[in-house]
Symmetry: C2
Subunit: 495 residues, 2 copies
């Protein structure tokens, strides 16, 4: 059972330290194998815990083997389910999708026209010959506006805000209406809806940022904390209200408007090509995984949900969790790493921090702050911080953020699936108690607290969040259009 | 989507360094979120690779969930398969098992009697009045025996060796004969066989060690490398040839005889109780795992093996690999950590190094040198080193060790299952090319070489070694006694 092919052990027996000349030992069977007391390395008596790196390797192997086996089982049961020609995109869906794709960005340009008018009016009010400035100038050179001037600024802003509000709301409501009532295919619907939400967020960020910049332009302040960020000095208000500046913001991989962004010196086209290859590869992978592995699990769970067979639902949920996790991870990487980096490279956009290491999150709160930086930055800059500035507590401001986020999620999932059942909304709002529960774990010094928090995050996200939501919307979809609907109707007829 | 419940972020905005008094910012929507170029943390552009500790936690969770799901599936398919009263130990099996349990250690006492006679003869030849010593004494005081004296020693040894050989061989062959022909139940058979092999190894170690000690006693040498280990001075030959000394060796958790072992000062009975509780708990676990999970997989694979349906055999092998691995790990811990530590504590045996961290093995060779230290120590001291001393190369000595080990493995598995089909023997000998293949990986400095070696070890051990061997012997057993036999006979009748 136990050899020593390693010749080092053999030669060491006759090493120079022991005997100057290599002479074989006379007595070969008397070596004292047990000469000193030693503890087993897994015992508590042992001085140091051994490394368990080998078990990590084993886990990876067992995971791969276990899933290869499930793939083999799936193939034996269903054969190849992937079919390129089987997708039936209705002609109307495609036409409406293209129309929405072209219409949605127009709202951003409407916002531009509004801001252009406001900027011209501001420029006039500051430099126009018919206007005199009634405020006082402090010894430091800072201008303190009068109450009247401020009142006037805000009354103008209210008009602008109404126009922006109507414009942005129209963008989102037209898309949602068309998708909900006319676009059957959920993929086209989701793409249109996500596009509308992005443009809606960009429009509002554009409006708010320019409101504050205009105010700072009209009423300069010497207070250090009111200073416009240094990076904006390259393009001060109102020079930023140009079509080129807006077009850059339209395509830039961010939801937060800034007149100036950090830029990279040149476009590395090979980098772009690599990232786009990743996008295509991962999308193909996600498509295969959905069609071959997720779809059968979802289909097989329909009758279990219809009959409320809870052990079977749990079993389906567990089977679904791995595949939904894999698809989600692939989707995360494809979008946040590959696609956004490719887009940023083409746009020479410098800040590539689209995510941080959310997979190590010691709490649910850290996860929401790190996995999707563009949305986090939008929420923090335009919802959370302004509410804090108005005197709200961090807790109530967080509630607002999650309610707002819940509405957006429900729009994103409920509208394209034609089932506004509130699961996505509740899923988002349910994060608040989870965050409150796991935040204390962030501050625990020992590694165990972090591991516990990380596990709670993974379980709530991998096992309950993703697959349960997918199951709910799939069931609702099937109940409206698919086989469950037919079964339920048939059951109703017979009973 | 992204809140900041953490109040630290809020207060930091008004930290002393930025502003001495906490004043809200006037412009809340203009913060420069993107102020410096940054790389995505998974990009190659990033300075440092992020930690992936979270993914390790995820792997553990996915493994647990995946296997809980399989347990749920298993329960829904088979119900509870565990049955305490279903075991039918034949009366004859139990009687023969008890008889063998009592007879086997007798061979150790026969060896004792032989050694007692040899020791008395040696004592007489050294101190007896009728004997004179013809050798010369060197200036250093060392005695150099004459050729005649040496010849006489070896001729006596040949007689002793024959008696020991016959005694030990009888021990193993009687047990093997009884188990193969009369004990049907494989568990009782395996226990008896393993007992016989242990006593056989202990007997041979006792004989060889005492042969060398006697030689050193009769012909003291001044050569440093021929010195008897220091620890033996507490009980020099022939004082060690006592019934008490042998009884200690009989029960000590080692296969290697030493007159003296390192000892612990006292028995910690709480330690013993904890270890024995582990042994019982793990045995119950292994029994449940075998009956509920391994048995159905083995049964379901019978017709696939009979019809040589290779994709299905592969699928079964993969399903079996996880459960056989879990049972093996539990068995390893139960025996090498819990049982041997409990036994060592009761025996106040000091050297508890029954295994090292074999799970980190960077090569197959390291695994065989570390997982089972008692057998490794036996093989190294009584087979490998003596062969090297006779001038064999390390490579040929290793081949001998593995051939010997293969024979023992085949006895251990083939005899109780009544199928000496050679799979265990071939499995052991096949380790040699694997070791040769993976030994170069030990010396690679980078961590990747070690990981590759570790993965090769785990795959060959977990996926191919354990489950394939289990499948082979189970199939052979069933072909001889079980359902396959009936099916094959029926098929033969119809064709």
């Amino acid at each position: 059972m136990a050899p020593t092919t390693n010749t080092a052990t053999v030669t060491s027996r006759a090493s120079p330290a022991e005997a100057p000349i290599k002479r074989p030992k006379k007595y070969r069977h008397i070596a004292a194998v047990h000469s000193v007391p030693k503890a087993s390395c897994l015992s508590h008596d042992s001085d140091a815990a051994p490394s368990f790196l080998g078990f990590r390797n084993l886990m990876v192997i067992v995971l791969i083997v276990g899933n290869l086996r499930l793939m083999l089982e799936n193939f034996k049961k269903y054969g190849v389910l992937i079919c390129v020609r089987c997708h039936d995109y209705r002609r109307l869906d495609v036409m409406l999708g293209i129309a929405l794709y072209l219409i949605i960005p127009c709202h951003l340009f409407v916002a531009y026209i509004v801001e252009l008018a406001a900027a011209q009016q501001a420029r006039k009010s500051l430099r126009g010959p018919g206007k005199s400035r009634d405020g006082t100038t402090t010894p430091g050179g800072s201008y303190v506006p009068t109450d009247e001037e401020l009142k006037k600024f805000y009354s103008t802003w209210i008009l602008i805000a109404w126009i922006h509000g109507i414009n942005a709301t129209l963008c989102l409501s037209i898309t949602s209406f068309v998708v909900y009532f006319y676009i059957h295919h959920p993929l086209i619907g989701t793409m249109s809806e996500i596009h509308a939400i992005i443009v809606w967020l960009k429009t509002s960020s554009y409006a708010w940022t320019n409101r504050d910049l205009r105010h700072a332009y009209l009423h300069p302040s010497s207070r250090e904390e009111d200073a416009v960020p240094e990076i904006y000095n390259q393009c001060p208000y109102p020079q930023n209200i140009t079509l080129g500046n807006l077009t850059y913001f339209w395509w830039a991989p961010t939801l937060v408007y800034q007149p100036v962004y950090p830029r990279t010196p040149k476009i590395r086209w090979i980098f772009v090509a690599k990232r786009m290859a990743e996008v295509f590869g991962l999308n193909a992978f996600m498509w295969i995984a959905s069609a071959q592995y997720a779809a059968p699990v979802l289909r097989n769970s329909l009758d279990k949900i219809a009959s409320l067979d809870f052990p079977s639902i749990l079993e389906r949920l567990m089977k679904l969790s791995t595949i939904s996790l894999v698809i989600w991870l692939a989707g995360f990487f494809a979008f946040f790493q590959s696609f956004l980096n490719a887009l940023a490279e083409v746009m020479r956009f410098g800040d590539r921090e689209f995510y941080a290491d959310w997979w190590n999150s010691p709490s649910v709160g850290v996860y929401w702050r790190t996995w999707n930086k563009p949305v986090y930055q939008y929420m923090k800059r335009h919802i959370f911080s302004p509410l804090i500035g108005r005197g709200w507590s961090a807790f109530t401001a967080s509630i607002m953020v999650f309610i707002f986020s819940g509405v957006l999620h429900e729009l994103l999932v409920g509208v394209p699936t034609h089932n506004i059942i509130g699961v996505a909304f509740i899923g988002m709002v349910a994060q608040l108690p989870l965050i409150a529960m796991t935040t204390p774990l962030e501050n625990i010094k020992s590694i165990n607290g972090k591991v516990v928090g990380n596990c709670i995050f993974w379980i709530s996200f991998t096992l309950i969040g993703q697959p349960l939501a997918a199951l709910c919307y799939f069931f609702a979809w099937q109940a409206k259009y698919g086989t469950v609907s037919a079964t339920l109707k048939a059951a109703g007829r017979t009973s």
